[in-house]
């Protein structure tokens, strides 16, 4: 029996889809059987980030309306030997095409076969959000060190805390720019975690490589040398229950920072 984790944020553009793709990839790299579900019906793009767009035959709506079997709609990721699958969203209809009950049923079914179901939630707190959250056991809230993103994360956490049968959500702070945080131009991580007061499960630095990788349809987590990739892999290991101190992540970031400083010749 696997577990379903919803990746949500409230605000758009903070990196939910990228995070979903990379956590899914990292879990598969750890040898877990993973199914990614894109619930952003009408505005799907998890398939693009995963580079699986051209293999889609059936989608989420086909599955819940029983036009196909669930396994027929799952797109297999060839890079992983039967460990990573994607259930893409439909593109021609909108969020109201699916109900929370249908999602619950689908996820219960998938949990039999997979270790982890990663649900990519659309932005907003309406129907799409309700669908995405319906079947989830756990939630991860993604935010960036911006006041607006933190505000929306706060709202989402409030809503998630009302969900029955769900563990308290955990937090990923995405797109951290270390130099801005140092100068105080960006909210720092302590400020964010104190404000939201939920457990921090990972921090991811702002890395141009992430954008490059997404555009090529290859999640950054596949590239072992990028700092963002290591961050995502660490998050995956924390999901698996390993305790990797967050402190070491900060140190690692500091390491990168000092390397950068060295590079620019700053003392």
């Amino acid at each position: 029996m696997g577990e379903a984790i919803v990746i949500t944020s409230g605000k758009g553009g903070v990196g939910k889809t990228t995070t979903s793709a990379n956590i899914g990839t990292s879990l598969a790299l750890q040898g877990k059987k993973v199914c990614l579900i894109d619930t952003d019906i009408g505005l799907r793009n998890l398939d693009v980030v995963m580079g699986l767009e051209n293999r889609i035959i059936y989608d989420l709506v086909d599955v819940v309306e029983k036009r196909c079997k669930t396994h027929q709609a799952l797109v297999k990721d060839k890079r992983f030997d039967g460990l990573l699958y994607l259930l893409p969203a439909a593109q021609t209809v909108d969020k109201s095409a699916v109900t929370p009950e249908q999602m619950q049923e689908l996820i219960t079914e998938l949990k039999q076969d997979y270790d982890y179901i990663i649900i990519d939630c659309p932005a907003g707190i309406e129907q799409g959000y309700k669908n995405a959250v319906a079947g989830a056991d756990k939630a991860i809230v993604v935010t960036t060190p911006e006041v607006s993103a933190v505000r929306d994360a706060d709202r989402i956490i409030g809503l998630l805390e009302k969900e029955k049968d769900m563990e308290p959500p955990r937090l990923i702070v995405n797109r951290i720019r270390n130099h801005m945080m140092k100068t105080g131009d960006m909210l720092d991580i302590d400020e964010i975690t104190q404000h939201l007061s939920i457990e921090l499960i990972g921090i991811v630095a702002d890395d141009e490589e992430v954008i490059k990788a997404s555009n090529h349809g290859e999640p950054i987590a596949l590239n072992p040398n990028s700092k963002a990739s290591i961050a995502y892999r660490n998050i995956a290991r924390r999901i698996l229950g390993e305790s990797i101190p967050l402190q070491s992540l900060e140190d690692q970031n500091k390491g990168v920072f000092s390397k950068l400083k060295k590079f620019f010749g700053v003392r």
């Binding site: 505000r151 929306d152 706060d154 709202r155 956490i157 805390e161 404000h195």
Partner: protein
């Protein structure tokens, strides 16, 4: 066989008090009141209105009955009912009174989009995040950071106060009055252990917590003790 009188009129130093017996029926009471007040009418010579208090003992009167009695007394005499006093109230009223005088303790974070509302005083153990709102009929005490909106005395009580361990509100409201945070807020400013109240010029003022014991001595509910 002389009945006990159901209606007695007494003069006290605070004015006239009509004592209405609480063991007879309401109809009897009305009748006697009618007779008594008519009988005495000639002794009354002055034309101006005299205010009286009505004491109905352990009798419960509905609002309609109260109006009826007031009207009755008003017609017969130059008497004006000031107040009807009763020893009993309904459960509903009692509950409301209790709620309004109660301190409700809540331990949670009031997040963006959430509203926490209590009829009496609120003791919040946790923060109010920006976009979150706490509303109380009485005072608000926050053991945490107030970053959202707090509305004390929401039924119009201007004596209500708002106190917080850390006072960084986006807006404060007490009764009908509103105060927002200054547009430029020095980040390093100490905003700890402060309270907000309405001063004599009807502005919401933020002051040290310790100022409250002079400004609102009624906050102390401890009776007796040392």
């Amino acid at each position: 066989m002389k009945n006990r009188q159901n209606v007695t009129i007494k003069g006290t130093k605070d004015g006239l008090v009509l004592h209405l017996d609480d063991t007879c029926s309401y109809e009897e009471l009305k009748q006697e009141l009618d007779q008594k007040l008519s009988a005495n009418s000639r002794t009354e010579e002055e034309r101006h209105l005299i205010s009286v208090k009505v004491d109905i003992g352990n009798r419960y009167l509905t609002d309609g009955q109260k109006e009826e009695l007031k009207e009755l007394i008003r017609q017969k005499k130059n008497l004006m009912v000031d107040d009807i006093e009763s020893n009993v109230i309904t459960k509903e009223e009692a509950n409301r009174l209790k709620e309004e005088n109660e301190v409700v303790t809540v331990s949670r974070i009031v997040r963006s989009g959430q509203v926490l509302r209590v009829p009496g005083d609120l003791l919040l153990i946790g923060d109010v995040n920006p976009g979150g709102t706490v509303i109380a009929g009485g005072n608000i005490f926050i053991m945490g950071v107030l970053k959202g909106v707090a509305h004390a005395g929401c039924f119009g009580n201007e004596q209500a106060v708002i106190a917080a361990s850390s006072m960084k509100p986006s807006q404060l409201r007490i009764g009908e009055y509103i105060n927002r945070s200054p547009d430029s807020n020095p980040a390093n400013e100490h905003r700890e252990m402060e309270c907000a109240y309405i001063n004599e010029n009807h502005y919401i003022i933020i002051d040290r917590l310790q100022a409250l014991n002079h400004l609102r001595p009624n906050l102390t509910r401890l009776e007796g003790g040392h």
